[in-house]
């Protein structure tokens, strides 16, 4: 029997259709059908300047928009050969890790509610709300922040923002313990996740799986350690891995990643340079400060050219990887020397991970399909772009 799951379904976490072929309750095949959220982001980027396209990147993995911003901005900076000031790099790391926590909270809440644990969903969203408030305070936007720009940050972070981050960091570990108390030794949770959705490390690598799914299979590939960016090599943190490679192992890996992210946030707060520019000095590329623009002719001309025409990176191609909460996210950028990107390709970790869904759930019961989709932590915005 062929059972259609989606594209409208509470447990597909977006507009995903999975064609399930069943023999009784056993899955014979599971074929994902995607494209319902395809909005032509890569094509749109080609008709916008490099700065304008940043706002499009938020909309891909919409649960960790700062991650996408970071990947895109790092690629642009690589094309231009720009060095970002230390202070901006630390702010980027701090916000990227808060984004990881926020994203994992959504994952945990939605995965748990799929399997019946409704309270966990509400608790996770309650904590995530605090992170959204911090983002709004710093960037003006709860979700689609576009806070990182070529060469640094969009705005000076407001005074007192680190106090807000500290308040969150102090209160959060108790909440994390709440989730663990509810789930980790919970018999129902264990029956639904232990031994479910196993993928071998060899298969995971062959199918390009990355992120917590790969690490729960025993492969310690984390872009922040392999190819450090934005000063991640100045922070001490561990990359949690397990070997059981089931939904339960992925749950434990992500919980531990939240703890590691909290540690990175604390280190960033402690080591944050309190003074210094938030944008690199590159006339003609980075807009001049507004006071200078209003009083100096040269600054005015630069401002005008940057905002009407845009800056033109030298012709060439670059590839930038970051560790998004879902895995290895890459931006491949080709410049033809014009102010608009010639080609931008976003390698979305969810797109690649979803391809491995049949390996996780075929041969198991239909209810395990829900657990397997949840455990992969997919976001349709980045799958379909």
């Amino acid at each position: 029997m062929v059972l259609n799951m989606g594209p409208q379904h509470p447990s597909t976490h977006g507009v995903l259709r999975v064609a399930l072929e069943l023999d009784g309750e056993t899955l014979v095949s599971a074929k994902p059908d995607i494209g319902y959220l395809h909005t032509g982001i890569e094509k749109s980027c080609e008709s916008k300047t490099y700065s304008q396209a940043i706002t499009l990147t938020d909309r891909m993995d919409y649960l960790s928009p700062l991650s996408n911003n970071l990947c895109y901005c790092l690629a642009t900076e690589k094309l231009l050969g720009l060095e970002v000031p230390k202070r901006a790099q630390y702010v980027r790391v701090l916000l990227a890790e808060l984004t990881r926590i926020a994203s994992h909270l959504v994952w945990l809440g939605t995965h748990a509610i799929d399997l019946g644990a409704m309270s966990v969903f509400l608790y996770c969203f309650r904590e995530r709300e605090e992170i959204m408030k911090i983002f709004e305070f710093v960037s003006g936007q709860r979700m689609m922040t576009s806070y990182f720009r070529t060469g640094g940050l969009a705005l000076e972070p407001p005074a007192g923002w680190l106090d807000r981050v500290k308040a969150f960091v102090d209160a959060f570990p108790a909440h994390l313990k709440e989730y663990e108390d509810l789930l980790t030794e919970n018999r129902i949770w264990r029956v639904r996740t232990v031994g479910v959705g196993v993928i071998s490390p060899k298969d995971a690598i062959a199918w390009g799986v990355s992120g917590p799914t790969l690490r729960a299979a025993g492969v310690p590939y984390d872009v922040r350690k392999y190819f450090p960016y934005s000063s991640y090599d100045e922070f001490e943190f561990e990359v949690p891995t397990r070997t059981e490679s089931d939904c339960y192992a992925r749950y434990l890996v992500r919980l531990e990643e939240i703890r590691q992210s909290l540690s990175i946030v604390k280190q960033a707060m402690a080591k944050m340079p309190m003074e210094g520019p938030i944008k690199t000095d590159a006339p003609g590329i980075i807009p001049p400060q507004r006071e200078k623009m209003k009083t100096e002719m040269e600054a005015l001309i630069y401002h005008f050219k940057i905002f009407t025409e845009g800056f033109s990176p030298p012709a060439g191609q670059v590839h930038q990887r970051v560790e998004s909460p879902r895995g290895e996210m890459c931006t491949y950028m080709v410049s033809d020397g014009s102010p608009k990107p010639f080609r931008v390709k976003f390698r979305a970790p969810s797109f690649v991970n979803l391809q491995a869904l049949p390996l996780l759930c075929v041969g198991r019961l239909v209810a395990d399909a829900v657990a397997c989709i949840g455990t992969l932590d997919i976001v349709l915005g980045e799958i379909d772009r």
Partner: protein
């Protein structure tokens, strides 16, 4: 063959050219990234070597995509980004296809993950991958006409 001082030092480029220099059209290093260009006739052979040679061991194919260089010929660049989990080196492998014959051999037998990537390139660029098990559109509806990421496909309005 474009050999600069940097390719003499890059171990990946050195090992590739030592294995079969004739198969390599060119190597380039820019912003610390190595790009190796091959003709599409040699693509599978080179990809196989990159995957199986124990000192290269490019087991992880991160990305497979294309760029349309209309009106230049050859028109389509097909680009592969890969890394080795054990050795931690990275590579961009690149090949070209003309507008009159936009086909390239599939690498799904080497990296299974290439399956969906090649479908996406077929969907958005119209490039065919020979040997792909099921080359159908993946993002756009099956009855869509045209390939939107081509440069002669408009960004807005009716065609």
């Amino acid at each position: 063959m474009a050999e600069t001082v940097e390719t003499q030092v890059n171990p990946v480029a050195a090992r590739l050219t030592a294995w079969d220099a004739a198969a390599i059209c060119g190597t380039e290093t820019y912003r610390g990234e190595l790009t190796v260009t091959v003709a599409r006739e040699n693509l599978q052979r080179v990809a196989n070597y990159l995957h199986s040679d124990p000192e290269l061991e490019f087991d992880f194919l991160s990305d497979l995509t294309a760029t349309d260089h209309l009106p230049n010929e050859p028109r389509f660049a097909v680009v592969y980004h890969m890394l080795s989990i054990r050795h931690r080196h990275t590579l961009r492998l690149q090949t070209w296809a003309s507008s009159s014959d936009p086909t390239v051999p599939s690498v799904t037998t080497i990296w299974p993950t290439a399956n969906w990537h090649e479908r996406e390139v077929f969907d958005l660029f119209g490039i065919r991958f020979e040997g792909h098990p099921e080359l159908t559109r993946i993002l756009l509806p099956a009855d869509w006409e045209g390939h939107p990421l081509r440069k002669d496909y408009p960004t807005e309005g009716h065609r």
